[in-house]
């Protein structure tokens, strides 16, 4: 199953300090819903303010993106810039 890594303190506040977990979801959108079911409020926070890195490649607002079976998914703040 894909592994979700939560490196920032903001998201860990939703998980009670849990920094790694496995998910059954196979897309980013399903992962967001699963996270929200397991940690109420986290899904909304991820949807609005976080990007995901899937095996090192950063995706923002990409619900349809597939999560490979053994992928490492890292939640990071959305990146803006100038």
């Amino acid at each position: 199953m894909p592994k979700v890594v939560i490196s920032g303190s903001t998201c860990r506040a939703f998980t009670g300090g849990v920094s790694e977990l496995e998910v059954t979801a196979d897309t980013v959108g399903r992962m967001v819903r699963e996270l929200d079911q397991r940690f109420p409020g986290l899904g909304h926070h991820v949807a609005e303010f976080m990007a995901v890195a899937i095996d090192g490649v950063i995706f923002q607002d990409a619900y349809s993106e597939k999560l490979p079976e053994h992928a490492e998914i890292v939640l990071i703040p959305k990146i803006g810039a100038g």
Binding site: D61, V74, I79, G82
Partner: protein
């Protein structure tokens, strides 16, 4: 489809055609925000706070309203009172309540220059007379400007409802520290215990402005039916539409924003200041209203980037392996939360593979204008400190400054402190290019020094739209939703021409307004050539499919039997028939008979923008009598993926380097004891000019990003990350003293030479 292949196969991409907007810009025909006018427009002016921090007790506008020629007077009471709502609009997280209060103060003014009222009148003199007639009663409050003073117990509190986020347990008393962020990996104590040497330093940076030449400007008009049009220069007309709708309680469909030419943004035009005010005044007056900031207003009321205090400590083994890195970042946010401390943390050590890292960041409000994005927001500040500490490690070890970076370089597979494992990246290629460049080994003279520093930025993709259509004569129009700041029109035209196999002169690129093209995110984050380029390429490919179908119809054969080659339809093989090629013009001429106009629009949410890395080498000479630092030679090396128009790419790199040079040597916000900015003009806020600088040599390293059809990576952010540390390292090399604060202005350097401490 990918076109990365062999670079020599490309006919248009990688060449340097004349820019499509060049003639208009050099002849003055281009229409910028301040140039635009509508018949019957009124002149808008904004009254701003003379105090750094004060309660608004009362605003009496009666005398201004009574002045002949005044058509509207507004305060925050004429705008919706927005409740706190966080979102991600423009170029970063934002709170709509804060945005509204920044546009027009309601109960308190939080910085000198904060807007408190606005007027629309028949002439500039009437508008200014009206401002003088508005009576504002303030209760002046103690203010705080400095970031560490704002964090200290007992500091004047700007927002009694603000409690530090990221702290457990949740604080019970309000604070100017909006957020505390911690990022860590490994075991920092064990890492330092393993280190043979330690280097550390406390560095201070000043708030600096993006210093775009064109001031903020707009014309807004709204009819009795509620249909509004805004003409404005910005980094994103869809962003203006979104903010105006939210801040004014309007439907998005009732607002059309038409982009005008933009005279520089660098991140500072990714939010709104004037447009909601102009719309409100226009609604009240029933006429178009034009607002243009003065230069003073630009400095006092539009966002600079953060000033900061950064403390860095790093440990290395005798062989140069860096085993521990720690930093504390304290960033000014201005009057409302939202400094770029988060990316500052993420970028500080991103160039290196370090097993033990601990980063702490503070987002701190104070009585300054709210900060706005500025190229690679946050990264130049943290890198300025970190890259000088890396230099100190190399000095302690007697190691070449590039060699220590090579030894610790991030590469594919390196895990960053924020958890992401890097894919294929070009940092090692950049270092190799720097090491082999003649500049690195060139001799230096007396009082001269050389420094190098490197930098990282994520780059982004995001939502973009583009349409491509074939005109009746076979020429091609490309419409995108991205305001052109860094040459995107040229890049879009070139990519479309390359895919079509036609000369770029046959392609006319324009920017569509919010009603004529699909949603497009702001021009920022080095995303446009990547994301909008992706949309353009895909739209062009769809056009080619249509062209092949039309050719098949003309030849009465199957579309599968038609190829597109060198800008023409050709039979796919001998069995397809012996037809002469059909040119784009020939197919376009028969478009009406073969199905109608030929064109396609594509919208994408581009993902996987490749990270960028750069290395800057700088030579300086320090005048020991005056303390003045002169840049003698400057080389900027960067992985750009694939340069579509190399001149524009070089220009981005040169521009970033020059802005960094200004940040390093001259630029700073200076406040007096009352919290008022002392140098709100280009006479006293000194940006580098051509005569201050040598030619900046830009070296393009091309490691294509395989997720883009042509291998593009963003280029506009990275080049402002290394300059301050590169110059700091060069000054250290020249005078033997490490300078610890920016700008390294002549008085500071002179003082350091006298005292022996920087």
């Amino acid at each position: 489809m990918t076109y990365i292949g062999n670079k020599s196969d490309l006919r248009v991409v990688g060449t340097r055609p004349d820019r499509p907007d060049g003639v208009d810009k050099v002849t003055g025909r281009a229409i910028y925000g301040a140039d635009f006018r509508l018949a019957g427009q009124l002149v808008g002016r904004i009254l701003r706070s003379p105090h750094a921090h004060a309660k608004i007790i009362k605003i009496d506008t009666s005398k201004a309203r009574a002045l002949p020629g005044v058509k509207a007077v507004m305060t925050a009471q004429d705008m919706p009172n927005i409740t706190s709502e966080e979102s991600f609009v423009g170029e970063g997280p934002t709170n709509f309540r804060d945005q509204s209060l920044n546009v027009m103060a309601r109960d308190k003014v939080l910085y000198e220059g904060h807007a408190v009222a606005a007027v629309a009148a028949m002439s500039p003199s009437i508008a200014e007379a009206a401002l003088a007639l508005i009576e504002v009663t303030y209760e002046v409050l103690p203010h705080v400007i400095d970031v560490e003073e704002a964090m200290a117990p007992g500091a004047p509190i700007l927002d009694e409802t603000l409690f530090t986020a990221g702290v457990d347990p949740k604080p019970t008393t309000p604070s100017n520290i909006a957020k505390k962020i911690i990022l860590k990996s490994g075991d920092i104590d064990a890492g330092f215990a393993k280190a043979d040497i330690i280097a550390e330093g406390r560095y201070v940076t000043a708030a600096v402005h993006q210093a775009y030449i064109e001031p903020h400007a707009c014309v807004a008009t709204i009819g009795a039916d509620g249909q509004a049009t805004v003409y404005a220069s910005s980094q994103g007309h869809f962003m203006i539409r979104a903010f105006c709708a939210k801040l004014l309680g309007m439907e998005i469909s009732n607002i059309r924003v038409i982009p005008l030419e933009i005279g520089g943004g660098f991140g500072g035009k990714t939010i709104v200041y004037l447009e909601p005010v102009a719309l409100t005044l226009s609604k009240m007056a029933g006429k178009p209203v034009k607002l243009v900031m003065t230069r003073e207003e630009v400095f006092r009321a539009s966002g600079p980037t953060s000033g900061a205090v950064v403390e860095v400590k790093m440990g290395a083994m005798k062989d140069g392996t860096i085993v521990a890195a720690q930093a504390v970042l304290k960033y000014q946010a201005g009057a409302f939360p939202g400094s770029p401390v988060q990316p500052g943390l993420m970028c500080a050590f991103a160039m290196y593979d370090i097993p033990n890292v601990h980063l702490t960041g503070y987002d701190v409000i104070s009585n300054r204008a709210k900060v706005a994005a500025y190229r690679a927001p946050g990264a130049p500040i943290s890198s300025y400190a970190a890259e000088q500490v890396v230099d100190d490690l190399a000095r302690q070890l007697g190691m070449d400054a590039i060699t220590i970076r090579e030894k610790n370089a991030a590469k594919a597979g390196t895990k960053t402190v924020y958890g992401v494992t890097f894919p294929e990246i070009g940092y090692e290629a950049v270092l190799a290019a720097a090491k082999s460049h003649a500049h690195w080994k060139a001799p230096l003279g007396k009082n001269q020094g050389r420094g190098i520093a490197t930098g990282f930025w994520f780059n982004i993709g995001g939502e973009s739209s583009a349409s491509v259509f074939v005109n009746e004569d076979g020429s091609v129009s490309v419409v995108s939703g991205s305001p052109d700041i860094g040459g995107s029109r040229a890049s879009m035209a070139m990519m479309a021409a390359e895919v079509l196999g036609i000369p770029v002169a046959n392609v006319r690129p324009i920017i569509g307004d919010t009603a004529s093209i699909g949603f497009t995110n702001v021009t920022g984050g080095s995303r446009v050539t990547y994301a909008t380029g992706m949309a353009t390429v895909q739209a062009t490919e769809k056009v080619i499919e249509q062209l092949k179908q039309r050719a098949a119809m003309i030849w009465d054969i199957s579309p599968d039997a038609v190829d597109w080659k060198d800008g023409q339809a050709v039979p796919a093989g001998a069995n397809a028939g012996g037809f002469d090629p059909l040119s784009l013009a020939a197919i376009a001429a028969k478009a009406g008979k073969t199905g109608g106009p030929i064109g396609s629009e594509v919208s994408v949410n581009a993902q996987g923008a490749g990270p960028g890395f750069g290395a800057h080498i700088c030579d300086v000479e320090v005048d020991r009598e005056t303390g003045q630092t002169t840049i003698l030679r400057y080389t900027a090396i960067q992985d750009v993926g694939r340069a579509i128009h190399p001149s524009y790419v070089e220009g981005q790199i040169q521009g970033g380097a020059v802005q960094g040079i200004g940040w390093a040597l001259n630029e700073e916000y200076i406040y007096d004891a009352k919290g008022k900015m002392d140098n709100a003009g280009f006479l006293d806020y000194r940006v580098p000019v051509a005569s201050d600088l040598p030619m900046i040599e830009a070296v393009l390293v091309e490691v294509p990003n395989t997720r883009h059809p042509f291998g593009v990576r963003g280029v506009g952010e990275v080049p402002i990350v290394p300059p301050m540390a590169a110059i700091g390292n060069a000054v250290r090399d020249a005078i033997g003293i490490r300078m610890h604060s920016l700008p390294m202005s002549p008085p500071k350097v002179r003082k350091a030479l006298d005292s022996g401490q920087g």
